[in-house]
C-alpha cells in the first residue's frame, strides 16, 4: 500500500510499504477513505518531537471502512464505517474507566520510556513518535487499529466523510479545550491561534455559553474564518493584544485564555529571538510565547487552557503572574473517546458542520506538497484532507 513516511526534518515521502495485518486479538484493519494533516503533525515535520525514526508512517486523523477484525473483537464487523480516535485506549484501566482515555495505562508499548521522561506514560497515539508508542499512522491506504473494540465510532451512512472525519481529533480537541476553559454563561474567552483547533475551540466556546470570543492570529484568512464563526478577530501583527483585551474587558481581562498554538509559537521581538536561539541550542525544547502572554492577559481567578502541544521544557514562564492571580491551568491530550458520541449528536442535529475548516482536498500522493503548503500557510491553507 501507499503510506506517507517521515524521514527527517521537512522530509516526508509517499512510499510503498506492506499492507498492515492483524497483530493482536482486538485489532481491526481499516481501509482509509479520508485522512487529514493535523497542525501537530507539523511539529513532527519540523523535527521538534523526539524519538521519531526514519520510515515511521504519519497520520492520526483518519476514518474508513473495516476490512478485517481480530478474533477477540466482538464490536466491529467487516463493512462497518468508522472514525478512529487518535488516542489508543484499552477501556479497562482506572483511567479509561474515569473517562481519561488519553491517560490509558495499557496501550503504549514503550511506556517505560515515557515513564522515564514524564513520570508516568499516557496512551499510545497513532503516528506520533516512539515516545507515544511508535504506532504506524493513518496517512496511508490502510491502517491497523489496535484495541479497536474500544476506540472507533460506527457512523451513520447519511453523513459524508467531511462532516465526521474531524471527530478523530481536532473537533474533540477544540471542544475539550473549551470545556477546560470553565466557561460560565456570558464569559469572555480569548483564543490564541486560529488554526483548525482554534476554529473548533471558538465554535465550542459558543456552544458552551461564551458571550464573546476573541481570536488572535496573524494569518488574514484564518482570522476571517474565525470571524465567520462569531469571534472578534485580533491581528497581533499590528496590534498590542494585551492592551486591546484589557480595553475590551473594561480592565478586567478575559475570563479564560487559550493557547491553541503550542511549542512552536512564532512570537515577536526580543523574547521570540531568545526562544529561537535557546531552542536551536537545545537549551529549551519548546517556545512558549503564546503561553506567556495568555497567562499575562488572563483575569484574576481565570483559567488558561492549553490544547497546543508541548513536548519538553520551557523557559521564562510567568509563574509569578499565574500565582498572584490565582489562575487555573488545564491541559493535556484529548480524551477523544469521551466526546465522540456527544459531538456526533451535535453534527447530526446540525448544530455544527465541521467541514467548514477544510481549505484543500488532495490525493495521498500529494501529501508531501500538502505538508509544505500547510507549514508555510500558503494558498490560504487551513486544513488539508487527503483521499487515499
Amino acid at each position: 500500500m501507499k503510506a506517507l513516511c517521515w524521514y527527517g526534518r521537512k522530509d516526508v515521502r509517499v512510499e510503498n510499504v506492506p499492507d498492515p495485518e492483524i497483530l493482536a486479538p482486538r485489532d481491526a484493519i481499516v481501509k482509509i477513505t479520508s485522512t487529514a494533516i493535523c497542525g501537530s503533525d507539523l511539529h513532527l515535520y519540523d523535527g521538534f518531537i523526539p524519538t521519531m525514526r526514519r520510515g515511521d508512517i504519519l497520520g492520526h486523523e483518519f476514518m474508513g471502512e473495516v476490512v478485517e477484525v481480530g478474533k477477540a473483537n466482538t464490536r466491529l464487523k467487516i463493512g462497518d464505517r468508522v472514525v478512529v480516535p487518535f488516542t489508543i485506549s484499552c477501556g479497562g484501566c482506572f483511567f479509561c474507566q474515569k473517562g481519561l482515555f488519553s491517560a490509558c495505562d495499557n496501550t503504549n508499548p514503550n511506556a517505560a520510556l515515557a515513564d522515564k521522561l514524564y513520570g508516568y506514560s499516557g496512551a499510545g497515539i497513532f503516528g506520533y513518535s516512539h515516545l507515544y508508542g511508535g504506532y504506524a499512522g493513518g496517512q496511508a491506504e490502510y491502517a491497523r487499529v489496535p484495541f479497536a473494540q474500544v476506540g472507533p465510532l460506527k457512523l451513520p451512512e447519511n453523513l459524508p466523510d467531511e462532516k465526521v472525519l474531524f471527530l478523530s481529533d481536532i473537533f474533540p480537541t477544540g471542544y475539550m479545550a473549551a470545556e477546560n476553559c470553565n466557561i460560565e454563561p456570558g464569559d469572555t474567552v480569548a483564543i490564541w491561534g486560529a488554526g483548525p483547533v482554534g476554529q473548533f475551540a471558538i465554535r465550542s466556546a459558543f456552544l458552551l455559553g461564551a458571550g464573546r470570543v476573541f481570536s488572535i492570529d496573524d494569518v488574514p484568512e484564518r482570522l476571517r474564518l474565525a470571524e465567520e464563526g462569531g469571534a472578534i478577530p485580533i491581528d497581533d501583527s499590528d496590534e498590542d493584544v494585551l492592551e486591546r483585551l484589557d480595553e475590551e474587558t473594561g480592565g478586567i481581562g478575559p475570563d479564560s485564555c487559550m493557547d491553541a498554538v503550542g511549542m512552536e509559537a512564532h512570537g515577536k521581538g526580543l523574547q521570540a529571538a531568545y526562544d529561537r536561539v535557546k531552542q536551536s541550542l537545545r537549551l529549551e525544547t519548546d517556545r512558549p510565547g503564546v503561553l506567556r502572554i495568555a497567562i499575562q492577559a488572563c483575569r484574576k481567578g481565570g483559567t488558561v487552557s492549553i490544547p497546543g502541544v508541548y513536548g519538553g521544557l520551557i523557559d521564562k514562564v510567568p509563574i509569578g503572574a499565574a500565582f498572584a492571580k490565582g489562575i487555573t491551568l488545564k491541559m493535556g491530550q484529548t480524551h477523544v473517546q469521551k466526546y465522540l458520541r456527544p459531538l456526533l449528536e451535535r453534527v447530526e442535529k446540525g448544530e455544527i458542520d465541521p467541514s467548514f475548516v477544510i481549505s484543500h482536498r488532495m490525493s495521498l500522493d500529494e501529501a508531501p506538497a500538502a505538508y509544505s503548503m500547510f507549514r508555510a500557510h500558503e494558498d490560504g491553507c487551513t486544513k488539508v484532507v487527503l483521499k487515499p
Binding site: 506492506p18 523535527g47 518531537i49 526514519r54 520510515g55 520510556l113 511508535g134
Partner: protein
C-alpha cells in the same frame, strides 16, 4: 504501599562498586584487619624510627584492607572470601481488577509464561510443585523446579526453587486492595543468590542487567493482560524503514524484535537524530 526504594538501589550500587575494587575479604576478617591495622599504625608512628615507619605502613595497609574489603594479595592469588549476600528485588503495580481474580490468574502457574519475558513454559507437576523452563543465552534453555511455600487464596503466594536447580531463588506475590474502586496492589518480591558459572549467566539473563526494571516490565505485562486482555505491540507493522535505506523500494516489515528501546542520546529533549 511504596516498595522500599533504598533497599532496591543498594544491590545495584554494590554491583557498580564491585567492578572497580571488588570486595574479596569476609566481614569478620575485615574487622580484624581494620582494628589490628589501626593499632599497628598508631604504634608504628609513635616509635618514630625506621622500624616504626615500616610497622606504620603495614598497619595502614591492613586498615585500608579492612575499610574497603579489597585485598590485592587475595586478588593476585585468586582467593575470594567475600560474604555472598543474596539480592532482593521488590516491585509493586496497581491493577484495576479484584484481588481474587488476579490471584486466580497467577495461581494458574501456566499463565505466567505470558507474564515473565524469559519464561517459555510452566508445567504444574502436582498441587505444590511446578517445572519452569526459561530461555538462556545462545538459544539454550534452563529449567528448574519450584515448590509453593505459602498459598492464601486472594492474598499471597510464595515459592522457592528446589534442590540443585540452576536458578536458585525464592519469591512471593501479594495482593492487597488498593482502596475503593482502585483495584489491587500486586507486590512481587524475589530473592536470589548472586550466582557464578553457568547458573550465573542464566540468572543474569532471567533477571536482566537491571533486575528491578525486568520485574517492572514483567509486572506491567501482567497488568496489561488482566486489564486490557492483551499486551500492546507494534511488532510486524509496516514502515518505510527499508525503502529509506535504499535496499528495497517496496518496503519491508518491522523485524520481530523487542519494542523500541530509547537510545540514551535521544532521551527527552532536542531533535530526533
Amino acid at each position: 504501599m511504596s516498595p522500599l526504594p533504598s533497599s532496591l538501589r543498594r544491590p545495584i550500587q554494590a554491583a557498580v562498586l564491585k567492578i572497580a575494587r571488588p570486595v574479596n575479604v569476609s566481614s569478620s576478617e575485615r574487622w580484624i584487619s581494620g582494628i589490628a591495622g589501626t593499632a599497628l599504625a598508631v604504634y608504628g608512628i609513635s616509635r618514630r624510627r625506621f622500624w616504626g615507619g615500616a610497622v606504620a605502613l603495614i598497619g595502614a595497609g591492613l586498615a585500608q584492607r579492612g575499610a574497603t574489603g579489597h585485598c590485592d594479595i587475595y586478588a593476585a592469588l585468586g582467593i575470594d572470601r567475600a560474604d555472598r549476600r543474596s539480592t532482593l528485588v521488590e516491585k509493586s503495580i496497581t491493577v484495576n481488577r479484584p484481588a481474587g481474580e488476579l490471584y486466580r490468574f497467577w495461581r494458574n502457574l501456566e499463565n505466567l509464561s505470558q507474564v515473565f519475558e524469559h519464561v517459555v513454559a510452566v508445567t504444574e507437576i502436582d498441587a505444590r510443585r511446578s517445572r519452569w523452563t526459561a530461555q538462556a543465552p545462545a538459544g539454550a534453555t534452563v529449567a528448574w523446579e519450584a515448590e509453593i511455600l505459602a498459598d492464601r487464596e486472594g492474598e499471597v503466594l510464595a515459592w522457592r526453587t528446589l534442590g540443585d536447580s540452576d536458578v536458585l531463588h525464592r519469591g512471593s506475590v501479594r495482593f492487597r486492595p488498593a482502596g475503593e474502586g482502585r483495584g489491587t496492589v500486586v507486590s512481587v518480591s524475589l530473592e536470589y543468590e548472586p550466582p557464578a558459572g553457568k547458573a550465573g549467566v542464566a540468572i543474569a539473563k532471567l533477571f536482566g542487567e537491571e533486575p528491578e526494571r525486568q520485574i517492572a516490565d514483567d509486572l506491567r505485562r501482567f497488568k496489561q493482560i488482566c486489564e486490557a486482555g492483551e499486551v500492546p505491540t507494534t511488532e510486524g507493522q509496516p514502515s518505510g524503514r527499508e525503502s529509506a535505506s535504499g535496499r528495497s523500494r517496496s518496503g519491508r516489515k518491522e523485524p520481530a524484535s523487542k519494542p523500541f528501546r530509547p537510545l540514551q542520546a535521544q532521551s527527552g529533549t532536542g531533535r530526533p537524530s
